[in-house]
């Protein structure tokens, strides 16, 4: 694996993480705001379920904005994950509130929303290749133009590994946070 691939993967990782953190923060805030009453929670679940279908038009939105030279993958991560994170944060927070504010119940749901959003955004890598100046998308496009098939294979393997590791990291973080905040587990450990 050459140095430029590692650099590109690093840039992609940073861009993806920033976009995911941003959408998680906004999604949690919106989810929190909508779980004030039972009625608003049910309405928001229906609305965000409907809005999550808009993830299907993200590649065309990115193609339309190709002249703006925005980081396509990061934008896709933000747009795809926002509705899913809000939807699953609403479900998680509602379940926590129904169980006397047991917040550990909310984390698996929130991490599921983040994982779904991330999984849905990887197919937009092709558009990212077309308009990006940095990151692994640019690396793949550059390798394709120079006819370097070995770099393309390594690049794709790198993105797959990155996608899998990020997914597992979010999954394990959700499980660990949930276990740490679980009062029953804490009681068992102290006794």
């Amino acid at each position: 694996m050459d140095k430029s691939l590692l650099g590109s993967l690093w840039v992609t990782l940073i861009q993806t993480t920033i976009a995911l953190c941003l959408s998680t923060a906004i999604g949690l805030l919106v989810g929190w705001a909508y779980t004030k009453t039972h009625q608003s929670t049910e309405i928001s679940k229906k609305v965000f379920r409907f809005l999550s279908c808009f993830a299907v038009i993200v590649p065309t939105i990115l193609l339309l904005s190709i002249n703006f030279k925005i980081p396509a993958l990061a934008t896709a991560v933000f747009l795809c994950s926002f509705c899913f994170i809000t939807l699953y944060a609403t479900i998680g927070i509602q379940s926590a509130k129904q169980n006397q504010n047991q917040w550990y119940l909310a984390f698996p749901s929130i991490s599921l929303g983040m994982r779904i959003g991330l999984l849905l955004s990887w197919p937009t890598l092709q558009v990212d290749s077309m308009n990006s100046q940095t990151g692994v998308g640019f690396f793949l496009w550059d390798s394709y133009n120079s006819g370097n098939s070995e770099s393309i294979v390594f690049g794709l393997l790198g993105v797959m590994t990155l996608a899998f590791l990020l997914d597992q990291l979010i999954d394990i973080s959700g499980i660990l946070l949930s276990r740490t905040l679980n009062p029953r587990r804490n009681e068992n450990t102290s006794s």
Binding site: A55, V56, T60, I116, L119, W122, T124, Q168
Partner: protein, 171 residues
Amino acid sequence: MDSQSSLLINSIFSTTIWAVVLLGISSILGAALGWLCGQNFVLAAVSQRVIQFLACWASVMASQTFCPVLVIALFTTIGVQRAKQNGNQWHFAISNAFLGIRLGLILFFTITQSRASAGLGGFIFNAYNNSDTAGMVWGALSILILAILFDQMLNILEKYIVNSMSRSLSA
């Protein structure tokens, strides 16, 4: 009707047929694979990681054939395990399988736009190559409407199956 409109209608028709066929086969295969993998706790834990890695591969490669199958299999495995852990409450498995089908559907329509060869993806790329912004917007709107319609149908089907299951259990 001008040629652009008839081309759009043809693209919608071919994408709908392809979506019904592919998602139908993917649902059967994915649910069967998920059912098998979810039978045992250790098998479920290992297969979840393996299927997740393969799903990442299919997602990065924008594979319209494998992505929905793997996502449906992943969520069915989780659902079957959850159902077994909660005293064979199979509505967990059904709900998770439908979540997988829903995500498979969204992935299918997202990947459609990366496929410049045929259907609505071909229509959008053709419009993009001709710098036809209106054509791209119409193509994207068609995909969105198809996705919403399929999603609502899945929602109704899921509610019907879960309700009939709980009715048969209480009878």
